[in-house]
Amino acid sequence: MATEKQEKQPVPPVSAWAPAVALGWLIPGGGHLLLKRTGRGWLLMAAITSMFLCGLMMGGAMFTPQTGDLLTTLINTGGFIGDLCSGILYLLSVWLGYNQPDMAGHVHDYGTKFLVTAGLLNLLAMVDVYEIAARRKE
């Protein structure tokens, strides 16, 4: 009978993972590069940056946090967090004046999804960086 309790892994000190995770947020793939996982770092950087740029070239809209009914709040705030997770890519595009209104059409719609998904993929990469920095993964 499998009654073994799973061993609780100790929480690593913040200083061990915070710089790598922060760099991973700011520059997609940067956390992996800092931790000397260069191949994976460049792959992540290429994939996430390409996806974000494709989203921009398709004229995708950036979300802004909005309140209202539950669905509006969920979609807009969630989308905003997704966009923000792209780090410097999001910040640069906003600072350089990218302001595409939400328009009808499948290309714009795909563009919006590409922008949010690039951020969410970067979030996954940040979790991976945390696990590597905490020595839970190679």
């Binding site: 792959l43 290429a46 494709c54 070239m57 398709m58 795909y110 590409f114 998904t117 190679e138």
Partner: protein, 61 residues
């Protein structure tokens, strides 16, 4: 900023490619497993893409 005007298929293909690369890189523990998982995810995306495409085609007739 140059504009991209893609069809549904091209956009979904690119989406699948980028997501598969990242999922492959972040999920597994060895390079071989990562590559296999990335390819597996990409094939799953394509099967779903073609499957749903045909489903909508026949549902629309």
């Amino acid at each position: 900023m140059p504009k991209m005007n893609l069809s549904h298929f091209e956009a979904a293909f690119l989406f699948s490619l980028f997501v598969s690369i990242v999922l492959g890189v972040v999920t597994k523990r060895t390079d071989r497993e990562r590559f296999q998982y990335g390819v597996y995810t990409f094939v799953c995306f394509l099967v779903a893409l073609f499957g749903l495409g045909w489903l909508m085609f026949f549902g629309h007739r």
